[in-house]
């Protein structure tokens, strides 16, 4: 059964709530069923929410620069929980300071993320990507 449920949240010790609300709104408007687990969310919470809701994608936001530490191992946890093929996206200010984007992106793709977005990406970009990725997966 193909679903259009996605899990969104802000990972780690990160309390940036505004962008999270904007993404919730944008993806809902785009026709997705958004399960928003809010700020200060742990990897386990993302995984549990995805398992219980039968989600097709997990969209992780991280804005305080510690994304790399917080996101490491998320793909493994999904594998372990039986949702190894779920789409994983990540976006925000993923590293501290202004760094060249390509190496950062590569780091996250190597971690098992399907897509990584630099600071300032508009929600429309990832909505478009998600729709494409989902239609290709069918």
């Amino acid at each position: 059964m193909s679903s259009n449920t996605i899990v969104i949240g802000v990972i780690g010790a990160d309390v940036h709530a505004v962008g999270n609300k904007i993404l919730d709104y944008a993806f809902t408007q785009a026709g997705f069923k958004v399960v928003n687990i809010g700020v200060l969310a742990s990897q386990e919470e993302f995984v549990k929410a995805a398992v219980e809701t039968g989600a097709v994608a997990i969209l992780v936001s991280s804005l305080y620069g510690h994304g790399e530490i917080d996101c490491r191992g998320l793909r493994d946890k999904c594998e372990e929980a039986g949702i190894g093929d779920i789409l994983l996206y990540v976006g925000g200010n993923l590293v501290v300071g202004k760094k060249e984007w390509e190496p950062v992106k590569k780091t996250f793709l190597n971690m098992g993320f399907d897509r990584a977005y630099p600071p300032g990406t508009a929600p429309e970009t990832s909505i478009e990507d998600l729709k494409n990725d989902l239609s290709q997966g069918e």
Binding site: A13, G38, V39, L40, A49, E52, T53
Partner: protein
């Protein structure tokens, strides 16, 4: 001749009866006799009613006879969900909220060992959950199939993902299982929905459990056994909270017994402090938890272990604790246990039970400074704690015992009540009130007002 309502509470030890004058809105008399499950439950009931009518000194004509029961093992349930912290927890919360004795909780796909376990546990009802609406559907379907093909014969209440209700209907009816399908206990991750489950559990309890436990003999005697006793207590608490009969909407009932301690809270439990973020499953306003290892007779050794022998020896140096424990192991009650020690144990039992029931806050250090995450219910604003059950009611120091429920400034992260009044259910009327709230709310109100004065010890 007075027109009365007869309220009956079939307990595992005693059958308690209460006659209430509906016109005058007060209790006429109460009495109790040993519960007689083996000899036929009616024997103990008739004896209790005889005693009641003798002590009433007036002729009574019963307009209604209502009963609740925790006899013959109470209402034994098994809850099944998908993720332990999510649908399994919601199913557990729903079963406890319906006054059940929860035997076990299962998560994910049931394996053969677990199926065998459930068969051996022989529950009265199974609550099967799994998946939010539109969420995971494979696991609940698979578990439904396994239950359908098993030798388990108790009624199954399905309260999971609505997408597969029809499929589960087919699966369970093909195998002629007794089942019902109701709304999801966790329709989405931010919404817990235990009310439909509670109603259905009560319905099944009235229709099946009662006849299965030898209560048939009293069918002629009484109108109905309407609910399990713990649910009657929960209904009473809900009623007292809703009408603010003790001055506060937020309250706790601690029911301490020989084997277990129940805690009922009536509060939404959301953070009372700004800057605190709530995490985890949403909490029901009326919530019940049961601590099977905190009790004053059968569970005494477990309670002593939980408090810690070293701590007890330090705080009560004159007590010969080793000797007491040895004696308890041989015969769980003896003269060595003084009132002082009994009150001390009860206070700590109350403390542990309320602490486990309520929530905690932890500090998370973020680049923006400290943030706080709350899990479980915030009980700090609770205004009244009501104590019931033998150890609390029979003690001359109920207030001292109930202080165990209060917030401890040395542990600011444990969200227990900060400022509240104490009251004790001296005449064991809580379950009677729970039986009255639906049909005789005004009588229930009057009985609350007559029986729940505040005692010393509250702050």
């Amino acid at each position: 001749m007075i027109e009365a309502v007869l309220l009956i509470d079939f307990g595992s030890t005693f059958t308690k009866v209460t006659a209430v004058d509906v016109e005058a809105r007060k209790i006429i008399a109460t009495a109790k006799a040993p519960t007689t499950v083996e000899l036929g439950i009616d024997k103990g009931l008739i004896e209790a009613i005889d005693k009641l009518e003798k002590s009433a000194e007036v002729k009574l004509k019963y307009r209604r006879k209502l009963a609740c029961s925790s006899a013959a093992g109470g209402l034994k349930m098994v809850a099944i969900g998908l993720v332990p912290d999510l649908t399994a927890e919601a199913a557990k919360t729903a079963a406890l909220g319906a006054g059940a004795k929860l035997m076990d909780v299962y998560s994910y796909r049931l394996n053969n060992k677990e199926l065998k376990e459930i068969t051996n546990l022989n529950p009265d009802i199974i609550l099967l959950a799994g998946g939010t609406d539109g969420g995971n559907s494979e696991v609940i379907v698979e578990n439904g199939k396994k239950l359908a093909q098993s030798d388990i014969n108790c009624p199954i209440i399905v309260a999971g993902n609505k997408d597969v209700q029809d499929e589960l209907y087919e699966i369970l009816s093909e195998q002629n299982k007794e089942f019902s399908i109701i709304d999801n206990v966790l329709p989405s991750l931010d919404k817990i929905n235990i009310e439909p489950a509670r109603e259905e559990i009560r319905k099944v309890f009235i229709n099946n459990i009662i006849s299965a436990k030898g209560f048939d003999v009293i069918k002629k005697e009484i109108n109905s056994i309407v609910m399990p006793t713990p649910e009657a207590v929960l209904q009473a608490g809900k009623f007292i909270s809703e009408h603010k009969l003790l001055g506060s909407e937020e309250l706790i009932i601690v029911d301490m017994g020989g084997a277990t301690t129940d805690v009922h809270s009536f509060t939404d439990g959301m953070p009372n402090t700004t800057g605190v973020v709530y995490r985890g499953l949403p909490q029901p306003f009326a919530k019940r938890t049961v601590e099977g290892d905190l009790g004053m007779r059968y569970s005494l050794c477990a309670l002593i272990e939980e408090i810690g022998e070293a701590k007890i020896k330090k705080e009560l140096p004159d007590l010969n604790l080793d000797n007491i424990i040895k004696n308890i192991n041989e015969d769980y009650w003896n003269e060595d246990v003084t009132w002082e020690f009994e009150n001390y144990l009860a206070r700590h039992g109350v403390n542990k039970a309320v602490r486990r029931h309520g929530g905690t806050v932890e500090t998370v250090y973020t680049p923006q400074g400290a943030s706080y995450i709350q899990t479980g219910k915030d009980l700090t604003n609770v205004g009244v704690v009501i104590g019931t059950g033998g150890p609390l009611v029979n003690s001359s120091k109920s207030g001292y015992i109930l202080k165990g429920a209060l917030f401890n400034p040395d542990e600011p992260m444990v969200l227990m009540p900060k400022r509240c009044n104490f009251s004790v259910d001296r005449k064991y009327v809580l379950s009677s009130i729970g039986l009255l709230v639906d049909d005789f709310p005004e009588v229930a109100k009057a009985i609350v007002q007559d029986n729940f004065d505040f005692i010393e010890g509250g702050n």
